[in-house]
C-alpha cells in the first residue's frame, strides 16, 4: 500500500433544523490510498452524500476534517472534481462547451488554444461522446448527460474523483456501459475515486474497498470490506467468482441483517418504526432505485 493520500478524521456533521441541530454524521474516519476505488454504501438518508460533499468542500464539517496530500480541505476545488447525481450540466451550453468551461478555468495560460481543444475532445472521446459533442443537454439522453458530466470531471485532471450515485437514474444497460467506462478510465488514469452508490453489484464490481455506513442519525462507518478481485474485471466472469459472491453477500448481510442500527439502544416504538423504514429502504438497494434526494430523513 502506498502513502495515505486522503484522510477523513473524526468528522461530525450537524445540520441546523427548526427543531435544533440534526446530527447526520458522527466520528467518521476513513483513510484512502492513491489510486484506490472506494464505494460508500448505506441506507437512504444515512449521510453518504454528506460525506462526499464534505470531501468536496461544499459542506463544512462541524468537527474533524479532511486532509488531502497533507493539506486540510476547506473550500471546493477542481482537484476534487465531483460527478453529480443529476449531471448538473449547464443547459445553455453544448456538451463541448460544458467541458470547455471547466478546462478553460483550469488550464488557462497552461495550455494553448489548440491544446485546450484537443484536451476537451480527448475527454469527450474517453466517455464515447465525440459524436454528440455539439448538442445541448436537452438534446441528448440521460446516460449521455451523465457521460458528459464524467468527462467534465475527468477533464479537470482531479486527484480525487467524487461520484455521487452517478448512475442512479439510468437504465440497467446504460449503467453497465458506464460502469465499464469508469473502470477503463480508472485503469488508464489511476485517479483516486470515491463513489456513493445504492447498488450492491456496482459497489462490488468497481471497488477496491466498500465502506458500509450505519443508519442515521449520527451515522458513521460501520464496516469496511476489501474486494480482492483482480483487475481488469469482466462483469460476466467476475459474477461467477467465489470472492465476488462472498463480497456481495457480506454487503447484503450488513444492509439487511445488521443495517447498522444499535437496536438495543432504541426505545421500543422507535424499533418498530426503524424496521419499516429498513424495509422501505432496502427495496432501494438493488436494481433500479428511484433517484434519492438529500433531505429525506431515512
Amino acid at each position: 500500500m502506498s502513502i495515505p493520500h486522503l484522510e477523513i478524521t473524526g468528522v461530525n456533521m450537524d445540520f441546523p433544523t427548526p427543531k435544533g441541530p440534526y446530527r447526520a454524521l458522527e466520528n467518521v474516519n476513513l483513510k484512502i490510498n492513491k489510486g484506490e476505488f472506494v464505494s460508500i454504501i448505506g441506507h437512504s438518508g444515512c449521510g453518504k452524500s454528506t460525506v462526499l460533499n464534505i470531501v468536496a468542500g461544499l459542506y463544512q464539517a462541524t468537527a474533524g476534517g479532511v486532509i488531502l496530500n497533507g493539506q486540510e480541505v476547506t473550500v471546493p476545488g477542481p482537484e476534487r472534481a465531483m460527478v453529480f447525481q443529476n449531471h448538473s450540466l449547464l443547459p445553455w451550453l453544448s456538451s463541448y462547451e460544458n467541458v470547455e468551461l471547466a478546462v478553460k478555468q483550469i488550464f488557462k495560460g497552461k495550455k494553448s488554444k489548440a491544446e485546450i481543444k484537443e484536451w476537451i475532445e480527448h475527454n469527450l472521446s474517453l466517455v464515447h461522446m465525440e459524436h454528440a459533442m455539439h448538442k445541448r443537454p436537452d438534446e441528448i439522453s440521460g446516460g449521455m448527460k451523465q457521460r458528459v458530466g464524467i468527462a467534465r470531471a475527468l477533464a479537470m485532471e482531479p486527484e480525487v474523483l467524487l461520484l455521487d450515485e452517478p448512475f442512479g437514474a439510468l437504465d440497467a444497460l446504460t449503467r453497465a456501459h458506464l460502469q465499464d467506462s469508469v473502470m477503463e478510465i480508472q485503469a488508464d488514469l489511476g485517479n483516486t475515486m470515491m463513489m456513493v452508490t445504492h447498488d450492491v453489484d456496482e459497489a462490488v464490481l468497481l471497488s477496491d474497498r466498500i465502506v458500509m455506513m450505519t443508519n442515521g442519525p449520527a451515522a458513521t462507518v460501520g464496516e469496511i470490506l476489501d474486494v480482492n478481485i483482480e483487475r481488469p474485471r469482466d462483469r460476466i466472469e467476475v459474477s461467477e467468482q467465489e470472492t465476488y459472491n462472498h463480497c456481495r453477500h457480506e454487503v447484503l448481510r450488513f444492509l439487511y441483517a445488521r443495517h447498522g442500527a444499535k437496536e438495543e439502544d432504541m426505545p421500543k416504538e422507535e424499533k418498530e418504526e426503524k424496521a419499516t423504514v429498513v424495509k422501505l429502504a432496502s427495496s432501494n438497494i438493488e436494481g433500479e432505485a428511484e433517484p434519492l434526494k438529500a433531505g429525506t430523513h431515512g
Partner: protein
Amino acid sequence: MSTETVDNATKMFEFFARINAKQLVQSLVIPIVGVGIFLMLWGLLAPKVVTSLGAVPGPSQVYAQFQTLVEEHKEERVKETAFYERQEKRNAKKLAENPDAKTKIRPYTGNPTFFDQIGTSVFTVMAGFILASVIAIPIGIVAGLSKTVYAAINPLVQIFKPVSPLAWLPIVTMIVSATYVTNDPMFDKSFVNSAITVLLCCLWPTIISTAVGVTAVSKDLQNVSHVLRLNWWTHVTKIVLPSAIPMIFTGLRLSLGIAWMVLIAAEMLSQNPGLGKFVWDEFQNGSSNSLGRIMVAVVVIGLIGFLLDRTMLFLQSKVSWDKSVALR
C-alpha cells in the same frame, strides 16, 4: 409510382390539409370574427350615445378621422420641405452675391402632427425604459447574489413599487427644472421629465424579477461553479445570467407595459409632447371631430403597446438559450 402510393399520398395530403384548415380557423378566422362582432356592436351602439360633442363616432367615422390625420401629416411635411427649400434658395442667393456672407438655416416650427406625437411617445418610453433596465438589472443581480444588499434595498423597493409614478411627476418636474439648466440643452425639459417618470416606474419590477431569477439559480449549478472555483465575473456571466434570463425578461415586459400606460397619463397631466398631449388637446378642442380623433389615438396606443410587448418577446427568443419560450 403505383396507384397505391399515389393513394397514400393523396390521403396524406388530405390529412395535412385538414390539420391546416383547423389551425387556420383557430388562428385567423375566429379572431377576425371576434373583431368583426366587436366592430358591429360598436357601430350599432355608438350613435345611440349622444354627448355635448355630438354622437359617439362609430368605426367608419373613426377610420375617416384616421385618414384626415394622415392627410394633415402629409400636408405638414410638404410645408416643411417648402420652408427649407425657401431658406436654401435664399442662402444660395446670398452666397452668390457675397461669398463671405453668413448663412443659417432656421428649424421648422410647425405643429407636431399625430404621427410626430407617436414618434415622441415611443422614443420617450424607450429612452426611459432602456435607462431603467441598465440601472435595474445590475442592481437586481447584486441583490440576488448578496443577502446583505438584498436586505438593504428590499424595503425601499417594496415601498416605492406601489407608488404611482404620476405621484412622482411634480417632484421630478421641480427637480429637473432646478438642476437641468444648460444654455443648449440636448433634450427638452419635457422629454427629460417624461423619461424620468417612465424610468421610475420601470425600475422596481425589473429589480425584483432579476433578483428573484438570480436567487433561483439551482443549487447544483452553484456547486459546479464552486468546484470549478469560477471567479465572480465568470460565475455571473456563465451561470447566473443565463439561468435568470427568463425572469429578467418577465420583469422587463412588465415594466414596459406599465411604462407605456404611465407615459400617456403623464403626458396628459403635464402637457409634455406625445400621444397623451394629443388626446388632451383634442379633448380641450371640443370640436365635433374630437371624439373620433381621440378614438384613433386610443386604438394606436393599444397597437403600440402590443407591438412593444411583441418586440420584447422577440428579443427574449433571440437572447435566451431556451428557444421554447411560448409567445404569449
